[in-house]
């Protein structure tokens, strides 16, 4: 059994309020969080030969890196810069290059958003390739994402400005707060964190330190609560529960904080070269059954995920009829994993979300 946040105890009044939330995270949740955290993607970075400064060593223009899915391009910059400065650029030209002017695209011209987690960039590229390249299969190939590094003149009408670590931190914290708001209708969990903890959660990302990150993140992320003993209330009443301190009901606190009690799961849907779709995603349906990925997808993209028709009535020849199969036109990729459609949205929110709290569902097209 693994625990979070129980190794350090603070004695300030604020810490006492939160100590009640320092709870034991169940083994399965921890396992999936660890697997997600350890997920990496291969990147191959080369500088556009047309842009290489004079006197560069052209024999070594590619840099390979296995980047954490939870990281961001601005956080890789120091390492990338070190490689190119040491081995490719000559000293004088390296001095004139500013990281803030650096930007990436892929050989087919897709621009990389520096404020997206690297795992999302990779998955999003995977699904867009699924449309362009009919022979492409998501799970059979783990090929590096080939990136072209450009050293000047970022296209300001297509990428956010100033890809600095500070700007990245702000973008990350903004996402974290939005996810908190989506779950509970307010951002009290994040704002309730002390300044050191708010900074510490970002340090955990920057240093890619699982324990440091989850020691704080577990205070604001719901658990999957698989051993739920009582049926959780409807989502609408869950929204008002946050006002009561968790310590008011010690026995029920972990359930109250549970993934099935949130107002809505922070989910974004990415379609190949399409817009990002975001909607309220209640963890339970009106009849109290868990909301599933299958239901979510057939609601938002019914043409790609047609709802499965009901099974025919049982007959003497067929006492246990199965619903007719529908063609699998598309698949859902979450954290690089082709995700079973019967997955529950609340569980995905607790176990498969990115470090910023969001479940990014990338839809790819099946070919053949």
């Amino acid at each position: 059994m693994s625990t979070y946040g129980t190794t350090r105890h603070h004695h300030s009044p604020a810490a006492q309020v939160f100590s009640a939330r320092e709870r034991v995270t169940d083994y399965h949740t921890t396992l999936f969080r660890r697997l997600i955290w350890d997920g990496t993607v291969p990147l191959e970075i080369r500088v556009d030969t047309k842009e290489l400064p004079a006197n560069s060593d052209r024999g070594l223009e590619s840099y390979f890196i296995q980047a954490p899915r939870a990281s961001y391009l601005p956080l890789l910059m120091p390492e990338i810069r070190r490689f190119f400065t040491d081995l490719v650029f000559d000293e004088t030209s390296a001095k004139d290059l500013k990281d803030d002017d650096w930007w990436f695209d892929t050989p087919d011209g897709t621009l990389l958003k520096w404020h997206w987690p690297i795992g999302l960039i990779y998955d999003n590229y995977t699904i867009s390739t699924s449309v362009k390249n009919p022979t492409f299969l998501p799970s059979s190939t783990v090929s590096p994402l080939r990136l072209m590094l450009h050293l000047a003149s970022p296209p300001q009408d297509k990428l956010l400005l100033s890809p600095s670590v500070e700007a990245c931190k702000q973008a990350f914290m903004g996402q974290l707060k939005e996810a908190d708001f989506i779950r509970w209708g307010n951002t009290k969990r994040i704002t309730g964190l002390r300044k050191q903890d708010q900074d510490g959660i970002w340090e955990g990302i920057k240093e890619h330190n699982f324990d440091d990150f989850w020691r704080i993140a577990s205070k604001v992320t719901p658990t999957s609560a698989p051993n739920r003993t009582q049926s959780p209330g409807p989502p609408s009443s869950a929204a008002s529960m946050h006002a009561r301190p968790p310590s008011a009901e010690p026995s029920g606190s972990s359930d109250r904080e549970g993934a099935y009690n949130v107002r809505s799961v922070p989910v974004r849907l990415y379609l190949p070269d399409g817009p990002v779709i975001q909607d309220l995603v209640p963890p339970l349906l009106e009849d109290g059954t868990p909301h599933t990925l299958s239901r979510y997808l057939s609601m938002h993209v019914p043409l790609l995920f047609p709802p499965r028709p009901p099974a025919p009535p049982p007959s003497r020849t067929n006492p246990n009829p199965q619903p007719p199969l529908v063609p699998q036109l598309a698949y859902a990729l979450i954290q690089g994993v082709v995700t079973p459609l019967e997955s529950e949205m609340a569980w995905l929110g607790a176990c498969m979300a990115g470090a910023d709290g969001w479940v990014n569902v990338c839809v790819g097209i099946n070919n053949g």
């Binding site: 297509k158 956010l160 400005l161 100033s162 951002t187």
Partner: protein
Amino acid sequence: MLTRPQFDIACRALVGKYAYTAPSPATTPLKGWSWHEHASINGLGYLSRRTIHTRFSCFGTDDEELYREEYEEQQDESTATAVPDATLVCQQYIVYSATYQVPAFYFTMHDCNGSPLALADIVNTSLFRPSAFDSAELTTFALNIPDRMFPLLSQGDHPTLGTPSWYLHPCESAGAVDELMRELGEAEWTTEEGLVRWIEMWIMVVSTVVELCE
């Protein structure tokens, strides 16, 4: 708070209501908007309009001079291209924030060569009321008010177009609008009239920071 369908109804009704009203200080913030849908996905519609602004001079003389904002009406695009060098073009959007379930004000600002302005320059234009950001701390990517939960102004992708934009953080606008609606009391509005009033009040709240009229 507004649901997505309520937002759509309110925005379309707003466009219709002010299409033919005479421009006046009271109506210009509400005029000139047009409704756009995403080409292939439903439920991603937004309002947009284009306004013309100027930079604040460092040694301002008179407020009248500082506030030159003109409408680029669709029928006189020919004159709009002939504007002087100092002219700035602002593309304004009212989008739906799926997270906060309220409208959000997004914009981009370019000089006459099409180059986007840096944030330090944007805050010194006639788009904003002169004292709007007095207590704010400026970086290259956001405008923060100390001790506030969210930056007042930051950059983000346009929710429908996916292009980089600046936006005013929407999370506190709903409370202000609801308070104004309570002041207006229960009038005998149809659902649509009520929703238009809501979005009008929201635009009024935004215009305490953004200069939305001439």
